[in-house]
């Protein structure tokens, strides 16, 4: 009985790939002047501990809590509004991006969407501060712009992957493209689009929380403010508020998505 030959254990290209990855990782560590040893000196540990101890107990005075509530509301509004605008614009841009208006439009819009989503929200916020001034407005716009890129691309892909039968049937029977869209495509795709949007909202609440660090309002701005004045206890309260807000929105969005997909 002839033994089957074992496949070569090491497929050259896979080994080369793994070696390249390893090289990347090592190069990263070595090229960064990471101050590992400094991190663990007695001095550093002591000052870190003191720094951390300054956070307790978090500031819980009533007037401050009201400010935090206002900041939380501002952050929530930024994220909700930004995501909402992105939803509408995303659908609008997804139409050409899914090829319904020809190949040229598709490539162009997809390029635009890529640029919008490649640039992180924070960078958008910094740029838009010039036009919109300090405060949550800039943050909302930054979120809207970035999320339009993300959702537009997701929506376009989802629209392209829909089974075409319902829409083409309507078109064959004489309906206009817009009508076919609203009557056939949208109902089919809506649960998935909403699911993506809600998932993106979870992400945007985190983004909104931190945009303030560059001046775009909300809890982030409060955090930066208190940290720069070394008011650690207030800063701790803000951080806790952020975490609670994020976890609550995560849970709410998860529940909402289950309901949408469950029915």
């Amino acid at each position: 009985m002839k033994r089957p030959a074992p496949p070569s254990v090491f497929d050259f290209s896979t080994v080369a790939l793994l070696a390249a990855l390893l090289a990347l990782v090592c190069a990263s560590f070595f090229s960064l002047t990471l101050k590992w040893s400094e991190l663990f000196t007695d001095d550093a540990l002591r000052s870190s501990l003191e720094f951390l101890r300054g956070f307790a107990p978090p500031e819980l005075a009533w007037p401050f809590l009201i400010k935090i509530a206002a900041g939380t509301l501002e952050t929530l509004s930024m994220s909700a509004l930004g995501t909402g605008i992105a939803f509408v614009l995303g659908i609008a841009l997804a139409l050409p991006a899914s090829g319904r208006y020809g190949r040229l439009a598709r490539s162009f819009i997809r390029l635009l969407l890529n640029v919008l989503r490649s640039i992180p929200e924070l960078v958008w916020a910094v740029i838009l501060l010039i036009a919109a001034g300090l405060g949550p407005f800039a943050g909302t716009l930054a979120l809207a712009v970035h999320t339009t890129g993300v959702l537009g691309r997701l929506f376009a892909d989802a629209l392209e992957n829909l089974p075409p039968a319902p829409e083409t049937t309507l078109r064959i029977n004489g309906a206009s493209p817009m009508a076919a869209f609203f009557y056939a495509v949208l109902p089919q795709a809506l649960p998935q689009l909403m699911s993506y949007t809600l998932y993106r909202w979870e992400n945007n609440i985190r983004a909104a929380a931190i945009l303030g660090v560059v001046g775009a309002g909300g809890l982030g701005q409060m955090l930066k403010f208190h940290l720069s004045l070394f008011q650690m206890q207030q800063a701790a309260s803000v951080i806790i508020a952020m975490m609670l807000m994020i976890t609550t929105v995560d849970g709410f969005s998860f529940w909402l998505r289950r309901k949408i997909n469950g029915k």
Partner: protein, 257 residues
């Protein structure tokens, strides 16, 4: 729908949503001026070299941070996964000690995940000083939470028949995982990890704005000086960087999956 409409007004007010602001003369003037300075983008040789170094630093921060996150996530994932529990196999529910360990691992993962990485970076910059160390640690902390959570979900959603069979025949738990569950879930795990690497690159740019080094820090400096030409070059480089990372990640996903 009605609820959304009712909420809209307070949301608009709270968010100080005043689109007309965009169009007032002063704002338009400032915007116009800034945008005009974008062209031509700065392209002097020293500047480009500087930017290249900063770009590499960003990539290095992301890669180093993600590697540390992986090292942290793996033990947490193993602790948090239920499907390898021998006591659950025997009687339908885990021993109290096992439940306690699993819950603690899950809470730790949630904690690591809920604090936005920028906040970690802000705090770390004050502890370890300006520079890439803060960025690497911030990514390591947040992403180990994210990786751990998704890895645990992937492992638990993989069919456990194969690994349970190995467990029932006396194999050790880690080996049952490696021989039983991993072949099926490897591609999903790799896919998510490469996706997170892309996110880490974006994240490390953002952290540069609070002083954690890399392209972000450079961009922050140029923005403060309203040097539009430098900013536009960096934006272009950044978009290219993300596109390349996307390509590499897609390639890795196909090959290692």
């Amino acid at each position: 729908m009605a609820v959304a409409m009712i909420l809209l007004f307070p949301i608009l007010v709270s968010g100080e949503f005043k689109p007309w602001l965009l169009l007032d003369a002063q704002s338009l003037g400032a915007t116009g001026h800034f945008l005009a300075s974008f062209v031509p983008p700065a392209h002097s040789r020293e500047f480009l070299l500087l930017i290249l170094a900063a770009t590499w630093q960003t990539i290095a921060i992301a890669t180093a941070g993600l590697t540390l996150a992986l090292l942290g996530a793996i033990p947490l994932t193993l602790l948090a996964t239920e499907s390898l529990s021998v006591s659950r196999m025997e009687s339908g529910h885990m021993r109290p000690a096992g439940v306690a360990i699993r819950q603690s691992a899950r809470w730790l993962l949630v904690l690591l995940r809920s604090v936005p990485e920028l906040v970690w970076a802000l705090l770390l910059v004050r502890i370890v000083g300006l520079g890439p160390t803060a960025g690497v640690l911030a990514i390591a902390l947040t992403y180990s939470g994210m990786l751990g959570k998704v890895y645990a979900e992937i492992l638990e959603s993989t069919e456990s028949h194969v690994s349970e069979s190995l467990l029932k025949n006396g194999s050790g738990r880690l080996l049952a995982l490696l021989y039983g569950t991993l072949p099926a879930s490897a591609s999903e795990l790799v896919s998510y990890t490469t996706f997170r690497w892309e996110c880490a690159i974006r994240g490390s740019v953002m952290m540069g704005f609070v002083g954690a080094g890399g392209l972000g820090q450079r961009m922050d400096e140029s923005m403060k000086m309203l040097a539009g030409d430098e900013v536009s070059t960096m934006l272009v480089i950044f978009v290219l960087l993300v596109a390349c990372a996307d390509l590499i990640s897609t390639f890795l996903r196909k090959r290692l999956g």
